[in-house]
Symmetry: C2
Subunit: 364 residues, 2 copies
């Protein structure tokens, strides 16, 4: 039996803003962070939402490991590119502002790409890719993360779960929003199995010898996550290659940390995370309306395709999240008992009690 708490989005937003302001984050930046965090919870990606407010962002602001003033600087700029230094600020505001500049450049020149170095965890990559959608642009976003993934043939975690996000508008269909870690599962999934004392499915992780294991504790202690694809027989080196590609675009091209140098939130050092953003004007290639009509056609062909035995629905990437968002707007933002617990505990530590009132509580 676990409880789900429902809240008004605006009230949660206010709480996040006040929480971050308490740690000297300027109000406008705090509002941008709140937008991204709340979006994760509304879209059902609760691992990247408010559950991290105190445990990740708060704990690092408290220790002075993130600069609340985010002294971001554009360090290099061309007609089509931007290199930004985030000044060790929060990941969300610098990412929103960089993607905005990237979109503005693409408006002028058709295509623009941007890198950010010296940043921190920025929440869901899909949020930034989706910023391109109202402009009839394709949006891209990658980021590197602390090393949790073991490259094929190794037994050491060297690469991050390094996500790839791509957002593409359609006409009457919802947009295509791919937002995927390049590991099979995030470390949080392994933690859940460990807590429940259950074996993990074969292929999710390896032990300290680099061998596939079903023991979540072995994965967490000395082992690591497998890249998308899993073992060599199922071509896990492709997932390893995608993760490496993301580290190159986010870490190496930006001048941020890469490989095992990317900081872990549990360490008392700067993370120096790197991000990569892109915006592509569709009308640079063809008429946007025709493009979007063709998107509808392709996505509809997929949705209407014959189903596998036992399956009732073929999903387009992003669809579940858009439906969750619609539901959250109607029914309120659903937070798990565990998330509410961290908010109450974190708020108590910081003297900012989490007193937002749930509109309903469902027990199941």
């Amino acid at each position: 039996m676990s409880k789900t708490y429902y809240y008004q989005p605006a009230e949660l937003h206010d709480y996040i803003v006040n929480y971050l302001k308490h740690w000297n984050v300027p109000e406008a930046d705090a509002a941008l962070s709140a937008d991204v965090l709340l979006s994760a919870d509304m879209r059902g990606i609760d691992s990247h939402g408010m559950i991290r407010l105190s445990s990740y962002y708060g704990s690092r602001l408290r220790k002075g490991l993130i600069d609340p003033l985010s002294p971001m600087k554009v360090i290099k700029e061309t007609l089509t590119t931007l290199s930004v230094d985030a000044g060790n600020g929060l990941g969300h505001p610098v990412s929103v502002k960089t993607m905005q500049m990237c979109i503005a450049k693409a408006r002028e020149s058709g295509v623009a790409l941007a890198t950010v170095r010296n940043s921190n965890h920025f929440g869901i990559a899909g949020y930034y890719a989706m910023m391109a959608l109202p402009e009839d642009m394709i949006g891209l976003c990658f980021t590197n993360t602390a090393p949790l993934v073991v490259p094929t043939h190794s037994r050491k975690t060297i690469l991050g779960t390094n996500p790839i996000a791509v957002a593409v508008p359609a006409a009457s269909s919802r947009p295509f929003v791919l937002d995927m870690a390049t590991s099979i599962v995030p470390i949080g999934r392994i933690n859940v199995y460990q807590k429940e004392g259950k074996p993990i499915p074969s292929g999710w992780g390896v032990n300290g010898q680099g061998q596939v294991t079903d023991n979540p504790t072995e994965v967490r202690e000395g082992g690591g996550l497998m890249p998308l694809g899993g073992p060599e027989l199922l071509r896990g080196y492709k997932g390893y290659g995608l993760s490496l590609m993301v580290d190159i675009f986010s870490g190496v091209l930006s001048g941020a940390a890469f490989g095992t140098d990317v900081g872990n939130a549990s360490e008392d050092k700067q993370c120096n995370v790197g991000h990569f953003f892109g915006a592509i004007r569709i009308d640079a290639f063809r008429d946007p309306q025709s493009f979007k009509n063709d998107m509808d056609k392709l996505l509809e062909e997929l949705r209407q395709a014959p189903k596998a035995v036992g399956e009732e629905r073929i999903y387009i990437h992003g669809e579940k999240e858009f439906e969750a968002e619609d539901m959250a707007k109607k029914e309120g933002v659903a937070l798990s008992e565990a998330t509410v617990k961290t908010l109450i505990e974190g708020g108590a530590i910081d003297g900012l009690p989490f007193e937002v009132k749930a509109t309903k509580i469902i027990e199941e």
Copy 2:
């Protein structure tokens, strides 16, 4: 016991050029096709090399299904983008020329992207991405292909094996060259198991009900390939998402065919394949020498990492292929007995006997 035949690269190149000229492909275009096909065999990607000369390219030129004169046209152009119509010509010459134009644009503007529609099979995607390397640029290349892959929860092949290629230069290390199909394996691997009467590893393909099967015949007849990741438990919907992304960039953005409309080489209709290319100047973001030194550092960290039990080497993507190429330059291009057989048979049909002399034949 099978034989491997070794040839001088220049002599194979001459044969390909003469073969294509016979079908009215202009000499300069034939030479570009020969470069790409030979590169595949030299790099050990023999499924995409000369084995297709007669069976794919020849058979379609013979039937008038490919226009040998490749009347390619730039149909839209901006400072940073190019939309090309290949005029149903061979895939290789239009792709080499488009990537050259893309690189020239990136030289001016920092970043350039290009699409090609109305094209045909273009060989190995990595070839075009690698064209950016000598320019200190990052190269990108995607293409869609005939539908062979079954989306998660479906039982119908709707998407292609849609490869992603990314090439990134390093300093003293060989470049990173990711060139991967977004399915687990290509259909050719299934054919090999079928011919040998062996079961395929679980996860490579599904049967006509959309269920995982180890029977290669079921995969080929009514079933299909699984996207990278395989079943839902191992997050095969991410591979499905990557394949769909490639179809959007190559098919929808270019105005080519997409989904099930992409032509299969065995059908007597135009394929209308779409490609996508990109070139990114590294010095638009940071000093290229520092970038390449950091690439060395990252790739070396991966190579030197502790190995999994039973493994001796961690590979960087492209490394095996560069080593194969070095070997081919020294020892000659290795062609399998099956490839030589298709060349002899194809040459006989077309009155262009394959009389290139092997420098050695190894039986093992």
